[in-house]
C-alpha cells in the first residue's frame, strides 16, 4: 500500500462543508473502496443498554460519509503513509525499527480489535499507545512519544488499519472486570457545572441534535478519527477530554487510569461494530 501519491488528492476534500444540512441516509452502508463492507449496525451485547449499536459514521452528513468510502479521499491516509515510513525506521540505542521485531505491519492484524487489554505481565490495563511506547522505551531504547503527538497518532492509525473490518471484541471479564466497572462508573457520572454524563448525550440522546451537532452513540471503533474541524487525526483520549471539557468540568489526562478504564468501557459498548480506522468525522 504505497500511498504517498494520495496526499496531493486529499487537500481538496478536506475543505468540504462542515454543515449539517444534508442529513444522512439511515440505511446507508459503508463499503470502502467498493469492496470492504464495514459492520455499522450490530446487535448489542446482552448487558448493553442500547437497542442497537450504531457506528458514528451513520450520523454524519453524506459528504463526510463519502470521504471515508475511498482511501484516496480519506484525509487520514496521509498519516497512515507517514507511519508506514516510521515503521521501518531504526531509532534509539538498540538501532532497531518496529519492522525488525514485527516484520510487516500486517502482523498487527487483530491488535486494535481487542484494545485496551490487561497486560499479563503487570496486571495493568494498557491501551495501544502504551504498548507502542513500551516497545519504544524498553525494546528500542528510544524516547516515548507524546499521547497526541503526530508520530503516536499516526502509528495507531497504521496499526488499527490492519484490523479494519474486524469486529471490536474487547474482553470485559476476568482481570478486565474491575477496570470495566470503573469505566462504567465514569460513563454515568454527571460531571462539571453542566452536570452531564456521557450517557446523557450518547445513550439517552443519540440521533438528536444538540444545537448544530447530531449526537451519535460516541463509539470509538473509528479511532483514530480524522476530524474536518481540526484537520488532523485525533486520539480516543483527546476526544474524551473534549467531551468532558464541554460539561464545564476538570478533565482527566490522556493516559490516566480513569480515561484508560473509560476507554475499555466505551470500546465494549461497540463490541460487534467493525474497526473503522482511520475514520472521518466533522
Amino acid at each position: 500500500m504505497g500511498m504517498l501519491a494520495k496526499a496531493a488528492a486529499i487537500g481538496a476534500f478536506a475543505a468540504l462543508s462542515l454543515g449539517q444540512a444534508a442529513s444522512a441516509d439511515e440505511d446507508a452502508r459503508l463499503i470502502i473502496n467498493g469492496e470492504e463492507e464495514m459492520i455499522v449496525r450490530a446487535a448489542p451485547p446482552a448487558w448493553s443498554p442500547l437497542p442497537e449499536l450504531l457506528s458514528g459514521w451513520l450520523f454524519r452528513t453524506v459528504e463526510t460519509q463519502r470521504l471515508q468510502m475511498d482511501d484516496f479521499e480519506n484525509p487520514g491516509f496521509t498519516s497512515v503513509d507517514s507511519a508506514w515510513e516510521t515503521w521501518s525506521l531504526p531509532e534509539g540505542s538498540a538501532g532497531k525499527s518496529c519492522a525488525d521485531c514485527h516484520g510487516d505491519a500486517a502482523s498487527m492484524k487483530g491488535v486494535r480489535a481487542v484494545m485496551p487489554k490487561v497486560n499479563a505481565e503487570n496486571g495493568e490495563l494498557w491501551t495501544l499507545e502504551m504498548y507502542i511506547n513500551n516497545c519504544r522505551t524498553e525494546r528500542m531504547g528510544a524516547e516515548s512519544w507524546g499521547w497526541n503527538s503526530g508520530s503516536m497518532v499516526d502509528m495507531t492509525a497504521l496499526i488499527s488499519l490492519q484490523s479494519r473490518g474486524m469486529p471490536v471484541n474487547v474482553a470485559i471479564d476476568g482481570a478486565a472486570a474491575p477496570f470495566w466497572e470503573a469505566g462504567k462508573e465514569l460513563y454515568y457520572t454527571r460531571t462539571g457545572q453542566l452536570e452531564l454524563s456521557c450517557a446523557n448525550c450518547h445513550e439517552d440522546n443519540y440521533g438528536n441534535m444538540i444545537r448544530a451537532d447530531h449526537l451519535s452513540q460516541g463509539q470509538i471503533n473509528g479511532f483514530p478519527v480524522y476530524r474536518l474541524k481540526n484537520a488532523k487525526l485525533n486520539s480516543i483520549h483527546a476526544r474524551f477530554k473534549g467531551c468532558v471539557r464541554d460539561t464545564r468540568a476538570e478533565t482527566y489526562k490522556e493516559g490516566s487510569p480513569e480515561f484508560t478504564a473509560l476507554e475499555l468501557y466505551v470500546a465494549s459498548r461497540g463490541n460487534g461494530l467493525s474497526v473503522e480506522a482511520p475514520s472521518v468525522r466533522n
Partner: protein, 160 residues
C-alpha cells in the same frame, strides 16, 4: 470565557456576572416551593429582549441548544433534547418558570437541563470551558440573577 462572549457582552455586564448585585438573592438562599420560585432573584423586572439574547447565545443560556422555539427561528440550529418551549408561558406560571430556569432538577427529577442559578454540589467542576479545575468558591452561577429574570420574562411571551 471565550472571545466570542467577550465581544458580545459589555464589560460592565461581565463584572456583574462575577460579583452579582448586593440586592440579588444568593444562589444558596433561593427558596423553592415545589420547584417554583416566587420572588425576583434580582429584585427587578426582567427584560424580554435581553432574555432572548441570553437564550440564543452560546456561552450564555444557549437554551436553543436543547429546545426549539418557533419565535427564535431567525437563529440557526435548534436542538431536540428537551421539549419545545412554544407555549411555555401558557403552561407554566412565572414562579414555575423562574424555578425551572434556576434549577430545573427541582421540577424535573434528574433532568438533563443544567441548573443555571446554582453554585455548589458539582463533581469535578471546571474553570469554564478550559478543562482545568475550579474551586467551588470561585464558581459563579451559569447565569446572573438578572439574566434569569430576563429569560423568565421572554418565556412568558411564549403563549399558545
Amino acid at each position: 470565557m471565550k472571545p466570542l462572549k467577550l465581544a458580545l457582552v459589555p464589560v460592565f455586564a461581565l463584572a456583574l456576572a462575577n460579583a452579582g448585585w448586593a440586592g440579588d438573592v444568593a444562589a444558596g438562599d433561593v427558596v423553592y416551593d415545589d420547584g417554583a420560585v416566587a420572588v425576583s432573584l434580582s429584585g427587578m423586572a426582567g427584560d424580554p429582549a435581553a432574555g432572548k439574547k441570553v437564550m440564543t447565545t452560546r456561552g450564555l443560556g444557549n437554551c436553543i441548544a436543547c429546545h426549539t422555539v418557533s419565535s427564535l427561528s431567525e437563529f440557526a440550529f435548534h436542538g431536540e433534547i428537551g421539549p419545545t418551549l412554544d407555549g411555555a408561558g401558557s403552561r407554566w406560571t412565572e414562579a414555575q418558570l423562574r424555578g425551572i430556569v434556576s434549577d430545573a432538577k427541582k421540577t424535573f427529577d434528574g433532568s438533563m437541563m443544567p441548573s443555571f442559578y446554582k453554585k455548589s454540589g458539582y463533581i469535578r467542576p471546571g474553570n469554564a470551558y478550559t478543562g482545568k479545575a475550579a474551586s467551588e468558591d470561585e464558581l459563579s452561577t451559569l447565569l446572573t440573577a438578572q439574566q434569569i429574570e430576563d429569560v423568565v420574562a421572554y418565556l412568558q411571551t411564549l403563549k399558545d
